[in-house]
């Protein structure tokens, strides 16, 4: 399996995106956000997605020339029309507005419609947290999750994400699909020809639980904990597609769907938390210490808080590089070849 440095992967991805017609600064943003996820071990949302982004651009399903515009602004609330631009480009602008509104009002909420895949929600929540604010991020997605008690797709994996500023500790960050696992973990197993997946992840087309990767790939994801995950997914759909005025539920396309726009909606809520609680950083540090002081249950030797596993992987991969499974490497090269690129510069 090839192993490449983050720097090479970023530069190469940026060049391929530019060859596909993406402006330099936007290509850099997209490459940075994808490689950041790969560094953190969130391979499902890393450069693994680049071939799909390139497919979308080549098919005309996303318009990299668009950056979108504010549809309405009222008080601390903005509805943004992404105009089918790149998700990262739209999200970057929307995050900036949310931060501005939170500085003015204490809270800010920006909901984008007609957007595209924006990488990990975590990247955007961390952008807000880096400004000393709490960042909350939600997005809807392709309808590949059946509601509880159903067997047809109505919800996306609809993640919930929050990042907070801290004091002495590393950033606390939660970024979770409202399904048992993120869809991309099944897609990645499929790309890399892994025959089975763990129980509880997915159901087949008929609504029966399955551990067969093929059946899961053409089937549906399971909501986290049954009716609770189903309720959380609908909460996210309301905060995104229903409010934004964009696509809802079955109206969405997908990153892997050609000949149709994705039409994702994304919502960014920023809280200027130091205004409400000047000692927020000391208090969150205390809470993290308190949670980490818990005696480990049988089979574990420590208690981790959200973001610790990813930061550990990041430290390793910054040193030793990012492994690229063969299936992904092949997909990257095929996608790049379309724009006259090969892997020179990638493997060194």
């Amino acid at each position: 399996m090839p192993v490449v440095t983050a720097a090479r992967l970023r530069e190469w991805s940026q060049r391929v995106l530019q060859a596909a017609g993406v402006r330099e600064q936007d290509a850099q943003l997209v490459a940075n956000s994808l490689v950041a996820a790969s560094l953190r071990g969130v391979d499902s949302h890393g450069f693994h997605l680049l071939p799909h982004y390139l497919d979308q651009i080549a098919a005309g399903d996303v318009d990299p020339a668009q950056t979108g515009s504010i549809a309405t602004e009222s008080g601390a609330c903005i509805v943004y029309d992404g105009c089918n631009g790149l998700g990262q480009v739209v999200a970057d602008i929307c995050c900036g507005h949310a931060i501005r509104l939170a500085r003015e009002f204490g809270l800010g909420m920006v909901t984008a419609r007609e957007s595209n895949h924006f990488g990990t929600a975590a990247w955007w929540a961390m952008k807000m947290a880096a400004q000393g604010q709490i960042g909350l991020v939600f997005c809807n997605a392709s309808p590949i999750v059946a509601p509880w008690q159903g067997k047809e797709g109505r919800f996306g994996t609809n993640p919930i994400c929050m990042a907070v500023p801290v004091g002495k500790h590393e950033p606390w960050l939660l970024d979770m699909a409202t399904t048992t696992v993120a869809a991309n973990r099944i897609f990645k197993a499929h790309t890399n020809h892994e025959p089975t997946i763990p129980a509880g992840w997915a159901m087949d087309k008929e609504g029966n639980a399955t551990t067969d990767t093929e059946a899961a790939y053409s089937g549906l994801l399971m909501p986290l904990g049954g009716y609770k995950g189903s309720g959380l997914a609908m909460m996210v759909e309301i905060l995104c597609g229903v409010i934004s005025g964009g696509a809802m539920s079955t109206q969405l396309g997908g990153l892997r769907v050609r000949g149709k726009k994705f039409r994702a909606s994304q919502t960014f809520i920023a809280i200027d938390v130091l205004r409400m609680q000047p000692e927020f950083r000391e208090r969150i540090d205390w809470l993290i210490d308190q949670v980490k002081s818990t005696a480990p249950a049988s089979g574990f030797n420590e208690v981790l808080v959200a973001n610790e596993p990813e930061l550990r992987t990041e430290r390793v991969r910054l040193k030793s590089g990012i492994p690229i499974p063969d299936g992904t490497y092949e997909a990257l090269l095929n996608a790049a070849a379309r724009f006259g690129m090969d892997d020179s510069g990638l493997r060194g």
Copy 2:
């Protein structure tokens, strides 16, 4: 098992609370909120809790004379000091502020510290939804949930709740503990001498999974879906205890803990959603229809959305009354006797 009408239960509960020293309008609010939960079949948060409220008052652990006051107000954000008043009284005032702020700014966030048990989060989210706003409610609670990989209590059941205004449909409302089940379902099994509970609900004191009600009662609840529920519980603790400046994690008492204040924190976020999306009511109706149109999975004959099961129970109980398990009835009478009351007026 005695069955009583909601009206009788409300009036009797109010009289007992007044006998315990609660002001008339506050007693009415507390009685209404508890009986509303019982009507909806949420017995874990219904009048079943009244004896604990009375115990708290009798022990001086809650001060029914207090209504609290605003600690800080800045832009769309308020921190409220509940001054150890009744949770419902504090929550009612805070909801009012959140609605006011959302009318002014589009969004409003109120975080209360030094509060007490406020009944179901649903009651407060619905109060905001009744004003045409989205209501989000979070609260922290007694540390009876171990973080993922741990075996000591650090989190409460820390619910996530959202209610939204609708058009033709009945209100959509999600109110879920971030544990597999709400703690009160175990307490209720204990009060009613049920020997076992389902697997996956709880662990014993040593951190081993258990289905024994006694062991679960003195043990710990399990977070929903492992690390995800643990992350959601911490998200709620941050939005409540960390921001409010009140008690966090192990600093909290509990509804069943005497000689110590509860010190709960509660957060209310209101979104004046019709300002962002004038067609919100039509769009949420469409989404509900879309979800309910899903073909049922094997073993089910329809797909329900959040709040439907509770509304069905409410319709039944409005007609036929609310059943009171013998253990609960006995606890109610014992608690009332302390204030010189019996069950006259309750059973008719």
